[in-house]
């Protein structure tokens, strides 16, 4: 059973790591479009896949995953925007959980944009 005592232990550990965890100004941001259009197109499993992949690699301090609204390109949902400080924002379209590992590995870790998943490569 999950207990509040367990939560207290998590709190104490988190407080001990506080210096480490202090808002990382260089953190990259992954924004998953989660308005009606994004959700209906399957944004939730994409967001979960990012969270899991980033946790698996222990990158929670360096990359934040969050939801955002509709940016007006509903036909390309699920849309994911990747923002790395000092670099141009990249918009990935028609994302799936399967595509997530490559975006994390190639783009977020190795700084190579996965061009074939971007909006530029998918508009006609």
């Amino acid at each position: 059973m999950k207990s509040l005592a367990e939560l207290q232990a998590i709190r104490d550990k988190a407080k001990a790591n506080l210096n480490l965890r202090k808002e990382n100004p260089n953190a990259a941001r992954v924004l998953v479009g989660m308005a009606t259009c994004g959700i209906a197109a399957g944004a939730r499993p994409v967001l979960n896949a990012f969270t899991e992949e980033i946790a698996k690699r222990g990158l929670q301090e360096d990359i934040t995953v969050t939801q955002t609204g509709c940016i007006g390109i509903c036909q390309y949902e699920p849309v994911v925007e990747v923002e790395i400080p000092g670099e141009e924002k990249v918009t990935y379209v028609k994302m799936t959980p399967e595509k997530v590992a490559r975006v994390v590995n190639d783009h977020l870790v190795n700084r190579n944009v996965v061009t074939e998943y971007t909006i530029g490569a998918n508009t006609k």
């Binding site: 998590i10 709190r11 550990k13 989660m34 946790a55 969050t66």
Partner: protein, 182 residues
């Protein structure tokens, strides 16, 4: 929407945008009464009577990025297509309550789906907001209240990875207990 839990995620975000500090999500189901009801209540900015009538119209939205707003109409449709009902009550400056009632056994009933994932994502992505999630069935109920967690956490954020993992496991455990370890 493939799951009602996705409608909940969608409509709950209206509460987030309405600058609510507390969002209460309640899912009550009863096999005895063949019913399921979902309510999303917030203390956000609320709406005027005129706005309430507008949000049910799919061609109304406050957004500027597109011309349609399907969140509320889809939620309404999901309930009405089962012979259920849908209601929005709102007061400017006080908040909004959205309630959808379903006839569970209806052929057009959409499955509830992974409601725990919806709750977990809402908390993780909006750690500044408090959520109260209650799930009830004929056997009993359980509640997750982030205000209680916050009291224990003493300033440690709800989106700390270990905390979100605790929340995920808590919801899973409680659901299993409620539904008899299926």
């Amino acid at each position: 929407m493939r799951e009602l839990s996705l409608n909940v995620m969608d409509v709950a975000q209206n509460s987030v945008r309405a600058e609510a500090s507390l969002v209460t999500i309640t899912v009550e189901e009863s096999d005895k009464n063949d019913s399921l009801s979902i309510s999303i209540e917030d203390n956000g900015c609320g709406m005027t009577e005129e706005q309430v009538s507008q949000v049910i119209d799919p061609f109304f939205t406050t957004r500027t990025t597109r011309k349609v707003g399907l969140g509320v109409p889809l939620f309404k449709l999901s309930a009405e297509q089962t012979g259920g009902s849908f209601e929005i009550r709102s007061k400017l400056g006080e908040g909004t309550v959205t309630t959808a009632r379903y006839v569970k056994s209806h052929v057009d009933m959409t499955p509830l789906g992974d409601i725990n994932s919806t709750v977990e994502i809402l908390i993780r992505c909006n750690p500044q907001i408090d959520f109260v999630f209650t799930r009830t069935n004929d056997n009993g109920s359980f509640t997750l209240d982030t205000r209680e967690l916050r009291a224990v956490l003493e300033g440690v954020s709800l989106d700390t990875p270990d905390v979100t993992e605790w929340i995920r496991q808590y919801l899973e455990e409680q659901t299993q207990i409620l539904f008899g370890g299926a």
